[in-house]
Symmetry: C2
Subunit: 311 residues, 2 copies
Amino acid sequence: MTTANPLKIGFCCPTIDAQPWADALAHKLPSAQMHIWPGSTESLDYALTWSPTQEFFDAQPRLKAVFALGAGMDSLLKLRLPESLPLVRIEDGGMASQMQDYVTHALLRHVYRFDRYEQDTRTGLWQQYAESLPEHYPVGILGLGELGSKIAERVRDLGFPVCGWSRSPKVLQGIRCYSGDELPKFLASCRVLVCALPLTAQTQNILNEKNLSLLQSSAYLINVARGAHLVEEDLLKLLASGHIAGAYLDVLRTEPAPVDHPFRSHPSITLTPHIAAQTLMQPSIAQISEKIRMLEKGQAISGVVQRERGY
Amino acid sequence: MTTANPLKIGFCCPTIDAQPWADALAHKLPSAQMHIWPGSTESLDYALTWSPTQEFFDAQPRLKAVFALGAGMDSLLKLRLPESLPLVRIEDGGMASQMQDYVTHALLRHVYRFDRYEQDTRTGLWQQYAESLPEHYPVGILGLGELGSKIAERVRDLGFPVCGWSRSPKVLQGIRCYSGDELPKFLASCRVLVCALPLTAQTQNILNEKNLSLLQSSAYLINVARGAHLVEEDLLKLLASGHIAGAYLDVLRTEPAPVDHPFRSHPSITLTPHIAAQTLMQPSIAQISEKIRMLEKGQAISGVVQRERGY
């Protein structure tokens, strides 16, 4: 099925295989044409992006909207793009529940010492340690956006004492919410800190020695946001001093992490390769195709980024 | 504070340090006398036990009730005890939520491949695997007693498809409940099997080659019950054939596990040293002291074991 002027939709996803995504979108929008960059010089109506390049956008004069295939908008926002071009994020698309599960696993693993028990039993031991329960571990969620608030609710439902911090004030049931300049007070109340912030000029390097030192002693850090939130050498310093007991990190400043990155072999750091919230193809493509249909009818869509705040 | 005929309460807990438990109970029942076995020949009113011995009971003619400091009654039931002597289990006492958390951790770890990612990142890789989500892993809970039903509810709330099997029919919201001779049908519907059964003559060796072969292929086994439920060599056989992908086990037939036990070094088996549900001193002692008070007033108490069914 084709029309006189078919929609032209481009994929600028240099680090992943875009073909399955293009096939899935073609299935939802059968009259549209799909173009995978590089390899096409068509002038496009819409673009779907994953770690996009400036070069792609420089050759596109008439884009109507750009869809990011992930929750974080930082890789798009660092490019030079027309001010009027709407940048659209994935809204959930299965990411919140994955991130809830990621944090649940990391948190229970630390609190109940499963990592230690697993290692012990491999090395010939069979030893039980003193009880260590969720109620002993106040957890703080840094960032209470779409993902952070869902993480906070899950952690609350697991029986942990929970608080949260966000730029502007929020209200979440059963969760003490701090905001703005209450950051030091918030940090001082946490034994576990979960970073779920968007990456902006204000939040870059927020996990630094000064802030992390405010956490309760023997604190634990979980980062599911962006590598650039964390000053990596500051974490190493605080692990060496013992103020921080360990960290479970899904993101690093450079990804893939260099083979000799010191975090890879650090006994108190656990890494995963940026998998805490994989963009699920089916719900994401369904969402994007529906938004393209609405835009074509001149209707407003949700999920458009406010560039001045950075998310 | 003493009375003319103080209650005499004994502790037969040869494998743990009973003193803190005796101190905690003395705090709740200040007029009672605490006696730790061996070392006392007093004739006792009540006994608190953990892996008790026949010798202890042979010297006790007038016990009014025996309290087990754990959920499993198998170590008491294998002894020769007067038929009329009430054997009392701990009712929850914080164990259900620990076991929910234990199964949650083991389940998420397997489904999201956190074990593999952690290992990958240590060995220099930074690779993402295809999506693997709770909805792809139907979980079956073997045993829907006090602990099993709580586990089933948690797994359901995490978004897994869940079913359960128990000796007698049960009803749990959102959980398909099988019973009695429907065991094969139940097993065929599971990709993950969680054993939460009491250990009885009927359930011993229930995790054998015949039953485990009925699970969906690439199944995963979690055992939080008793080591004697599992025929260990059958698990090794099914891991070798690939029918079972892995196992997370808190219990073994012999505990502590021998240093050269093959499970300790098996790449697809993860062990923890019987810590899935530690008996918490404060809630357990509060519960036992209240039950002793009720028995002294001639009131009926809950949690008395039905010996003919074995739990």
